[in-house]
């Protein structure tokens, strides 16, 4: 039960475990990835998620991403996405 993710500039996928749940919200996934990659030491960036297959961006924080999905992560400077809530 995991979500595969990859930063846009990286060539290969990594994965986070979602503890046996069938899906996870965008907000929670963001926190997990930030913790995993030790990005929580600074506040000046945002993570933008998009579906690896369709390219569609996940703009809604509460949207549930199902287990086994592949997600592309884009690290951008903070303040560039008006819709994202911290």
């Amino acid at each position: 039960m995991s979500i595969h993710f990859k930063f846009r500039s990286c060539p290969s996928f990594d994965s986070v475990d979602i503890d046996g749940r069938p899906s996870i919200s965008v907000r929670e996934l963001r926190l997990k990835i930030i913790r995993r990659k030790n990005l929580n030491i600074c506040q000046d960036f945002d993570l933008v998620f998009s579906d690896a297959l369709s390219g569609q961006e996940y703009n809604d924080e509460n949207f549930q991403i199902s287990s086994g999905s592949s997600v592309i992560v884009k690290r951008v400077p903070a303040g560039t996405i008006p819709s994202a809530t911290k």
Binding site: F7, R8, S9, C10, P11, K37, N38, L39, I41, C42, F45, V73, K74, R75, V76, P77, T80
Partner: protein, 695 residues
């Protein structure tokens, strides 16, 4: 504006509002945009992409320290140019090479490459973060060394249509300013530079012509440096007095770079002040000795003064300075001076010593370099009452903190002079804190208020777009260039494009001026033909003026040369062959000959078919009758063959007799009579073709 002694201005006219995809130049800072740290500037023009520098942010570790690589596609980058070995310009290179999709080429100067290796190894050892958090390891650094290509100062390189060369930038050993030329548009990226010569480095050069765009550092914004001698005196005075009162001096600085300048100053000072002989100076870095050896290899990149010194003795062979590998080797029993890395005081040896000494007011910390926002070095400048130690506990900050900058960046005086000499039409400020940069922009705007100079201060991931309407120029070379054509004369040749240069030449000169050459293709086609060769000859003569008949030398068969281009041979009784050298006209001639021969093949059986046409006519007549009959049946239903060849049509009891030859109808019913007559007339005209002439 264009006076002698000043660089020439460019011929470009800024393009009007109409956007042409090919002429749009995009510059995006992925780091060091309105900040200092993680320098990384992306540039794209005419399908070519260049990345300048690849650094990390000293205030962070792990992925957070990286430039915003996700903003672009690393695989599209053709060339990556690194200006110098400082961490905030080169430290994410191993990561970028090993862990992203980048597959372009990397260039830096010789000295930069040698020192980069040791500096990054030092960084890896010194920043003791968790293994997971490490962006790269020793293996990645070594692997990256193979991929880095070396470029000398003033050496022009050309990669995939991108030309570039570099100028001395001062600042640190091997630091360069890169000038990139794509399709005639020139961009100068200064990296970090200083126009003041110091003990061992040259001052930055001024390029001989002005670039269209200048991407320039703005670290010191509108500040002015204190004069060099005052600065050095202040430095040595602070150290001297601290030692005299029994305190220790900590100088946080990275093992290589400005440290060498400071060591030269200290060595000289100690030589001139024998009373300090008992106070040791330590140069602390795990790789201290190796770094120094590398540094000494590149004296040719240093200034004349120190090169002359080398003639008599090695100026880096310090008598008063000893090296220290780690804190275990250090016996802290008397006042001393320790220069230790890193300069940011984030971790490592300098941090360990800081934690030890910060609470004693006799001690001093002299910060010799630019402090990046978010680092401990920057924090203590404001002399807070307390600091947090590495173990998490708080401790009072009683030690004296002095900031004396030797960091060899251009100050406002140098920046404004440099830009005034160059007069670039576009200036992009990077590598400066937002406020400082804003002040610089204001001052520069008023400085350039007369001209058309644009000054931009982009943030990270904020793209700057510029349009360049450059003229395309094609030069004639070789035979075509021998004589200047008159107005109205037609010049024709081949247009050869290499990268962004165009040349026009005669086809014969192709192999001289390019790596291309022309070749001839001889074509041959065989056609089955069993008729007389004379027939072909006869017909060809009717079409073409020049048909020469002869006998083929090798095989002795009759052959024809048509239009001086195509040779037709009768290879055997059953087939002909055509030979020609491929070119548009010969191809056309051979096509027509092929058609002619095939036509001749088809026509021949016609002679014996003459008699058949008669029979065909009879068949035609029979067919026509059948059709007429079928049509009449469909119209009237009951149609029978009567005696004497007439057709009997019966509709609702009314009988009509139709004479097929004349079209006359006999019928008592006038209506039916008319109908049949009209119908028959129409059917007849449909079945038999209309004569063309009224015969």
């Amino acid at each position: 504006m264009a006076s002698t002694g000043q660089p020439h201005s460019t011929l470009k006219r800024p393009s009007p509002a109409v956007n042409r995809e090919g002429d749009k130049l995009i510059i995006t800072p992925l780091g060091a945009g309105s900040e200092v740290g993680r320098s990384c500037v992306y540039m794209s023009f005419k399908g070519k992409t260049v990345l300048f520098d690849c650094g990390i942010h000293p205030a962070y570790s792990g992925m957070a320290a990286l430039p915003y690589f996700d903003e672009i596609d690393p695989s599209t980058i053709d060339v990556l140019l690194i200006t110098h070995f400082h961490l905030d310009h080169a430290a994410s290179l191993p990561y970028f090479l090993e862990k992203t999709t980048f597959k372009g080429r990397v260039f830096m100067t010789r000295a930069t490459k040698a020192i980069y290796k040791w500096l990054l190894s030092d960084y890896v050892k010194v920043s003791k973060v968790s293994v997971e958090d490490m962006l790269f390891d020793e293996h990645d650094i070594n692997h990256s060394m193979d991929k880095i290509e070396v470029v000398d100062f003033h050496q022009t390189m050309e990669v995939n249509g991108i030309s570039f060369w570099c100028y001395t930038a001062g600042h640190v050993l091997g630091a360069a300013m890169f000038m990139v030329d794509i399709a005639g548009v020139r961009v100068l990226y200064t990296g970090d530079y200083s126009r003041e010569e110091d003990r061992h480095l040259c001052a930055a050069e001024t390029p001989e012509f002005s670039p269209d765009i200048c991407i320039i550092e703005s670290t010191y914004g509108v500040q002015l440096h204190m004069p060099r001698q005052i600065r050095e005196k202040l430095f040595t005075d602070v150290i001297h007095s601290t030692l005299m009162q029994g305190g220790r001096v900590l100088i946080p600085a990275f093992a290589l770079g400005r440290a060498q300048e400071l060591l030269l100053i200290l060595e000289e000072y100690w030589s001139n002040h024998p009373e300090l002989a008992n106070f040791p100076i330590y140069y602390a870095s795990p790789l201290a000795r190796k770094c120094m050896a590398v540094y000494q290899t590149y004296i040719n990149a240093m200034n004349e003064r120190i090169r002359n010194q080398f003639a008599s003795s090695n100026p880096f062979d310090f008598k008063h300075i000893s090296s220290l590998n780690s804190i275990e080797d250090f016996t802290d029993n008397k006042p001393c001076v320790v220069m230790a890395s890193p300069g940011s005081l984030q971790s490592g040896l300098s941090r360990q010593l800081f934690d030890k000494w910060c609470s004693d007011k006799k001690n001093a910390c002299v910060i010799p370099g630019y402090m990046v926002e978010g680092t401990l070095a920057k924090t203590i400048i404001n002399e807070p009452k307390e600091v947090t130690l590495q173990n998490g506990l708080s401790a009072p900050l009683n030690m004296q903190v002095h900031y004396i900058s030797f960091s060899a960046h251009a100050d406002y005086a140098q920046t404004s002079t440099f830009l005034k000499e160059l007069m670039p039409p576009n200036i992009i400020l990077v590598h400066g804190e937002a406020n400082e940069m804003g002040r610089l922009k204001q001052k520069l705007t008023s400085l350039f208020a007369d001209g058309n100079t644009k000054i931009i201060t982009p943030k990270n991931c904020q793209s700057v777009e510029m349009h360049f309407n450059s003229e395309k120029m094609a030069k004639t070379v070789g035979r075509l260039a021998e004589k200047t054509p008159e107005v109205g004369e037609i010049v024709s040749g081949l247009l050869v494009k290499k990268g962004f240069t165009y040349q026009i030449m005669a086809p014969d000169d192709l192999h001289v001026f390019s790596q291309l050459s022309t070749a001839n293709v001889t074509q041959r086609i065989t056609i089955p033909y069993s008729g007389a060769f004379a027939v072909i000859q006869h017909r060809l003569k009717q079409i073409y003026e020049s048909v020469e008949s002869s006998t083929d030398e090798e095989s002795g068969v009759p052959s024809l040369r048509v239009h001086e281009r195509v040779t037709v041979k009768q290879e055997s009784e059953n087939h002909l062959s055509l030979h020609w050298t491929a070119d548009p006209i010969s191809d056309m001639v051979s096509d027509s000959i092929v058609a002619l021969v095939l036509n001749a093949c088809r026509e021949m059986p016609k002679v014996s078919v003459e008699s058949e046409t008669l029979m065909n006519e009879e068949e035609d007549a029979k067919k026509a009758e059948k059709i007429v009959h079928a049509l009449l049946v469909s119209l009237f239903g009951d149609v029978k063959f009567g005696n004497d060849g007439k057709l009997v049509i019966n509709v609702d009891g009314n009988v009509a007799n139709l004479d097929k030859q004349t079209g006359d109808v006999e019928c008592e019913n006038e209506g039916l009579k008319e109908r049949v007559r009209t119908a028959y007339r129409r059917i007849r005209s449909a079945v038999k073709p209309i004569p063309l002439s009224a015969a």
